[in-house]
């Protein structure tokens, strides 16, 4: 059995799939940006129990590698790595923006933009879907201020939470279509906006089984250096 999960966004998403057919046997998604560490393990246990699958029946683990807020992202990665190591099974990573791109049903090239906090987005550009449903990543993943990359995303439907948060900035230079505040896609020319805010573990699972998502090592895509507050030299304590 293939166990898939992603903790790179505000959602904790888990799915279990048949490793041959890719059929999803169970899944769970909870949106709570601050409790990844608390939610993931119980969600895995519940998905397994509901499907009647024992942990020893797992044959592979797939995990979203971000980019995403570091603290939550690491919860998924360290869980995947330790589980796979003690179970003696394979673990693969998938760029979380690739998962989002695959979630779009649009027959067009798309951009993915997610919330990178600090008024920035994680983003990537994708080709239109191939016959098997896979999408080639053309640029990214990268992290930037929305206004600085708006011209790169111009004219493309934008998938993901970034479209919700920065619809106006991104949409203004996109197709000019109105940015739906609840929708996760803007600028879908003529179409109803899609709601694709967070990566789905179901899509991750089937994409890995069918080979329509590109797999990597389960390593984090941080894209930013760690914040460091340099401490200066000792302060003078003598009266001036």
């Amino acid at each position: 059995m293939l166990l898939a999960f992603d903790t790179s966004s505000a959602a904790v998403t888990v799915a279990l799939a048949d490793p041959v057919s890719g059929n999803v046997l169970g899944s769970s998604t909870t949106v709570d940006a601050l409790r990844h560490g608390e939610l993931l393990a119980p969600a895995i246990a519940e998905v397994l129990a509901t499907a009647g699958v024992g942990v020893k029946e797992l044959t592979k683990i797939a995990v979203g590698t971000g980019p995403g807020p570091f603290t939550g992202l690491r919860v998924g990665l360290v869980t995947a790595r330790t589980m796979a190591d003690v179970l003696g099974i394979e673990v693969v990573g998938v760029c979380s923006l690739d998962i989002l791109a695959k979630q779009s049903s649009l027959a067009l090239p798309v951009a993915v933009a997610t919330d990178a906090r600090r008024k920035e987005i994680y983003w990537a550009l994708y080709d239109g879907p191939a016959a098997d449903g896979s999408r080639r990543r053309l640029e990214g993943p990268a992290v930037d201020k929305p206004a600085e990359v708006a011209h790169v995303l111009a004219g493309l439907p934008v998938i993901g939470r970034g479209a919700v948060l920065y619809g106006e900035v991104l949409g203004a230079t996109a197709t000019g279509a109105s940015a739906g505040s609840a929708a996760g896609t803007i600028g879908a020319v003529g179409d109803e906006p899609e709601v694709v805010e967070y990566p789905s573990a179901e899509v991750l699972a089937t994409g890995v089984v069918t080979g329509t998502l590109q797999v990597t090592a389960p390593d984090p895509l941080y894209l930013r250096r760690p914040d460091v507050t340099m401490s200066g030299g000792p302060k003078s304590v003598l009266p001036k």
Partner: protein, 350 residues
């Protein structure tokens, strides 16, 4: 050691050490550590995001190393213990998630334990069963406390603690003033041992005046001491004189150890306890160990300090506390166990 006792794996990630320990009963089987201290040294302190990244990379290799050392397979493990808090939130989260991954995969119970109680429980690995009724002095990078401990699995009762800097923090700050590397404790200790004259200067002993004792009998204060050392050193430098690093280190250390041991013994007397346990990174200090031995012997108190390697953060201490909790039949933690960065010292198990 009894082969029948459960095998406990302990994980520690509250600060900059990724520790994985394996313990059966009171027997230490493995204590694997990966440290990111070198990555922090140039910043003069621990950088939380750097520590968290290092924990993620070190986790699986450290678990493997512990199992290899102990000659066990992960599937032999009977329970997983992990530091649930207190500590750096992002760092704790990596250890807690890894522990859950193990508990899930091995279908074994999970115990989310208090890091500070683990600093006390680690002594079981060296000196066996903890005495029923003891004062524990916890002196580390973030804490300096006197605790009354009847039964570590039931909880601890705080008697007093620092009102400003922790003892280890004072060591680290004074080391910086003296131009010694980070973390400073071991370097101050070494400088003092290398011919330092403890009586070269007399630095202040915080909260020991009669007036302070009325309100702060079992509390500590090291901030005034640190400032006194800094002033003394700066005045020398201003006057163009050499700073005798070894002497200053020895005199500073003397002041810290004097106050710590005096108050710890007073706490034992107050409670009528005949045992003093010392734990935490500063318990590795050679002068503190020596002074505690001498003064406790004179006061008729048995003192227990684990060997220096077990005083600083490690996974074995977490496994040791886990082992006590399992033996006491405590209820395991839920899989929803949080990383609790400000876990109170009175909570042993989350």
């Amino acid at each position: 050691m009894s082969e029948n006792e459960p095998l406990i794996l302990g994980i520690e990630t509250s600060c900059d050490e990724t520790g994985v320990g394996l313990v059966r009963g009171h027997t230490l089987l493995a204590d694997a550590i990966a440290s990111s201290v070198d990555e922090h040294a140039r910043f003069g302190g621990v950088v939380p995001e750097v520590a968290s990244r290092a924990h993620l990379e070190a986790m699986v290799p450290t678990i493997r190393r512990a199992c290899e050392t102990a000659g066990v397979k992960p599937s032999d493990v009977d329970a997983i213990a992990v530091t649930s808090g207190p500590g750096l939130a992002g760092a704790l989260l990596v250890g807690v998630a890894a522990a859950k991954g193990l508990a899930l995969s091995l279908d074994k119970p999970l115990y989310g334990v208090n890091h500070l109680a683990a600093h006390v429980a680690v002594d079981t690995l060296e000196h066996g069963e903890l005495p029923k009724g003891a004062v524990a002095m916890l002196v580390s990078g973030g804490h300096s406390s006197l605790l009354a401990v009847e039964d570590i699995t039931e909880g601890v009762e705080p008697m007093g603690s620092t009102i400003d800097d922790a003892a280890g923090e004072a060591f680290d700050k004074v080391a910086r003033v003296l131009g010694l590397p980070f973390p400073g404790g071991p370097y101050v200790d070494k400088a003092a041992r290398d011919g330092g004259d403890r009586a070269y200067v007399t630095f202040p002993r915080g909260l020991t005046s009669q007036r302070d004792l009325e309100r702060h009998r079992f509390d500590f204060s090291f901030s005034g001491l640190k400032t006194a050392v800094a002033r003394w050193v700066e005045a020398k430098r201003r006057d163009g004189e050499d700073v005798p690093v070894n002497h200053v280190a020895a005199a500073f250390q003397e002041a810290v150890c004097d106050v710590l041991t005096r108050k710890a013994i007073d706490a034992c007397k107050d409670r009528g306890y005949e045992h003093l346990l010392i734990g935490g990174g500063v318990a590795a200090n050679s002068r503190l160990r020596q002074m505690a031995e001498e003064r406790c012997a004179a006061a008729g108190i048995a003192v227990r300090v684990p060997r220096p390697g077990l005083c600083t953060d490690n996974g074995a201490m977490v496994a040791a506390l886990g082992s006590e909790l399992v033996r006491a039949g405590k209820t395991p933690s839920p899989l929803g166990l949080p990383a609790d960065s400000s876990m109170p010292i009175t909570t042993v198990l989350n």
